[in-house]
Each structure stands twice: as C-alpha cells, then as structure tokens.
C-alpha cells in the first residue's frame, strides 16, 4: 500500500462532485436515516393519538414546567455547541473548551431532570376498580370527576407500600389484603381545560369539591378483590406511556451518544487540534450537526408528549 492511499482524503477539502467534505456528507446521510427512524415513531404516535376515543387520552400526567425547563436547557446547549464551533473558526481553543463545558453541563442536567421525571412516573399509580365508585361515596376522589355522582372507574395517585413496577399480583404475593391510595387532585380523564379551570378555582378558593380534594391527605382503601388492575406510569400502563418511554428513551440514548462524542473531542481527540486544526474543526462541526438534530427532535417531542 503506498502512502497516498493511506491518507484519508476530503476530510477538509471539498469534493467536487458532492460539494462537501466527506464527514459532512456522512453525517447528513446518517441524520437522514435518523429522521426516518424518529419519523416512523412520531407517525405511529400520531396514529394512536388520532385513534383514541374522546376522553381516553391522558391529560396532565406530565409536568409541563419541568418539560419546558428541560427544553430551555437543551436549546442552551445547542447554542453553546454552535458558539464553540465559531470559537475554533477564530482559532480560540480555550473559548471552545469553555463553551463545550457548558454544553456537557447542560446535557448532563437534561438527563438528570429526565431521570427525575422517570423516577416520579415509576412511583405514580393508576388503580382500575372492578366496579366504579363515586366521589359522593369517597370524598377524597373529588378531584377525579366534575360530578359527585359520576362513576369513577380508576383512581390515580400514590399507592401505599408500592415500589416501582409493583403489580396487583406482587402486592397479593406480599400478603396485602387491602390497597390504600392517596389520590391525586386531578384525573387525566378531565380535559386539560377542565383541569386548568379547577386549578384556577382552587387557587381562588371557589371550588368546594376541589378544596376538599386539596385538603384531604387521607387515603382511600379498597379490598384487593375490588381491584381489577394496577400499574405505575410505566410502559405497561397503556399506549400513552409506552409511546412516551419509547420516544424519550430513544432521545435520551442520543443525548448520551452526543455527550460521549463531545467528551472524546474535548479530551483524547483534542490532539488533532495541534496536528490538523481544520480537520478537528470539521469534526466539531459534524458532531454539532448531530447535537442540533437531537435538539430539533426534542423541540417536537415536548409539545407532542406534554401538551397533545
């Protein structure tokens, strides 16, 4: 093998036929495949959402302020990636490093917040009853319906003694004869609009039922035989959470991949800056393209999962 063949070409110089250096072409082809991967999952989600009957799709199970904050964290990391690249263009490696430290900080914060959200979901339960009850019978459930006589088929809240992924079978195995639930103030079968109105009424102290629910920290107990099924907010809970964990989980894997790539460029891969600064700058550019793509996916995930 002669020396000319051992040299990788088009790492910095533009190829005439494509008008790109090879790294960039490769990254764009990869991103095209990523668009189709996420596109398939998004379209599956939209399909399932459109197929849901009225009132069956959960509202208000995700924490919107937390999700919005995480959006800002990821957008900020996208900016620092872009600025780190311009720093290299100006030949300022130290400035590049400072921006990339912020990027890694934001990326880690994003994953930390997401983990906290996951943990919160793992400990939140829905309990489906064999026979519906009413808020009249159990005042603690006032937040679950707008009408005290309306049947309530399932209760959401925290289950005493349950750990993540507890099932009815595992509770029975552990010798439980009753299940005590500390109900949430709102049930997802109330529309987002109803929930917002009740929150407002609750704040101004107008709504009697909502006030009772808010003040009641008592649990409501049921015999095991009265319960049909119970599940934490994990994929087995239903369609919504199965989609939520698939989409956010895949996205989080991409964030981890981005962190590894940036960390490589920042530490072991940084030697290239001395030997071939232009090639190094291009590596940062294409990794940045990947990172902006992750940001782009989240920009769509946030409204679709948290607001739809």
């Amino acid at each position: 093998m002669n020396q000319a063949h051992a040299t990788i070409r088009y790492t910095t110089e533009i190829r005439e036929d494509t008008g790109l250096y090879n790294g960039k072409l490769g990254m764009w082809l990869f991103l095209a495949s990523e668009v189709m991967l996420f596109g398939a999952l998004f379209s599956a989600y939209v399909f399932l959402r459109l197929s849901a009957r009225d009132g069956e799709w959960p509202h208000g199970l995700l924490n919107i302020p937390i999700g919005a904050f995480n959006t800002l964290v990821l957008i900020t990391s996208s900016l620092t990636v872009a600025l780190s690249w311009t720093s290299l263009k100006m030949g300022d490696f130290q400035r590049y490093r400072r921006f990339q430290f912020v990027t890694l900080g934001c990326a880690t914060a994003f994953l930390g917040i997401k983990s906290w959200e996951y943990y919160d979901k793992f400990n939140h339960y829905e309990v489906w009853l064999e026979k519906p009850v009413t808020a009249k019978e159990h005042p603690q459930l006032a937040g679950h319906s707008t009408d005290p006589d309306a049947p309530i088929a399932s209760i959401i809240g925290h289950v005493e003694g349950a750990r993540p992924f507890t099932t009815l079978a595992s509770l029975e195995e552990a010798g439980a004869t009753t299940v005590t639930i500390h109900p949430d103030k709102f049930h997802y079968r109330l529309s987002a609009r109803q929930q917002a109105e009740r929150r407002k009424a609750e704040r101004s102290g107008e709504a009697e039922t909502a006030r009772i629910a808010a003040e009641s920290h008592e649990g409501v107990s049921f015999d095991v035989s009265q319960i049909d099924r119970l599940s934490a907010f994990v994929p087995r809970h239903g369609t919504f959470f199965a989609n939520y964990f698939t989409l956010t989980g895949l996205h989080a894997l991409h964030v981890i991949g981005g962190i590894l790539a940036f960390a490589f460029l920042l530490w072991p891969g940084a030697r290239m800056w001395r030997d071939d600064p232009e090639r190094y700058t291009n590596r940062v550019e294409v990794t940045g393209l990947f990172w902006h793509f992750i940001d782009l996916v989240w920009i769509f995930l946030f409204p679709i999962l948290y607001l739809l």
């Binding site: 494509t18 399909f47 459109l50 197929s51 959006t71 957008i75 900020t76 700058t281 607001l307």
Partner: protein, 120 residues
Amino acid sequence: MSSEGPAHTLPTPSAPTVDLHHVQLEQRRFLTVYAVLIFGTVLTVAMYYVHFEEMWQTVAVALLIAAVKGAFVAAVFMHLWHGERDVHKILLYTGVVVAALFGLSIFSIFNIPGSGHLLR
C-alpha cells in the same frame, strides 16, 4: 476502473481562511436564533395555560410554533440556509418518506368505531 484523466487533485493544504467578520456575523445569528427559540418555548407554555376554546386549536398552534422553532434550528444552527445543494437533495428525499409515514396516520379513521374524531 477507467482512468479519466487526473482524479481529484488534492488541493494544497491551506491555512484556515478565517474571515473574522463572517464568523462574528454567524455568532450574532446564532444568538438571535437562541432568543427566538426561548421566546417560542415560553409562548408554547403560556399559550397552553391560557388556551383556546378548543383543544385542537391549542395543539395546532403548539405544533406550528414547534415547526417554526425547528425551521430556525435547521436553517441557522445546522447551516441549511446557506447549505450545500447535495444536503438539500438528501433532505428532500427524506422529507418525501417522512411525509408518506405521516400520511399513513390518516388511516386511523378506519380504526375502532368512534375513533378518528380529530380528523372529522
């Protein structure tokens, strides 16, 4: 392989041609887009709490804002605005596939009775 004259000749390695003014202009553009993205996020959340008469209106506006935000990220952060022709071509083909995928969701109107109400 045929030898069609000299292959792509390796250009002499040029020193990074830094057009400082150009880079600074780019940085200002990044900061502007950042401000737009922050504004879009705040608007999305604020709108959700104010919300319109109908749920679908809220969702439509939220998705519209997301699309605008996404367009800014793609155009400026990912340099598609001044991007290379071949990248645009790749993305055009990709867009066709993705549009087809989303088109499939129209079939939800044939799903379980009483479903697909958002499309009617």
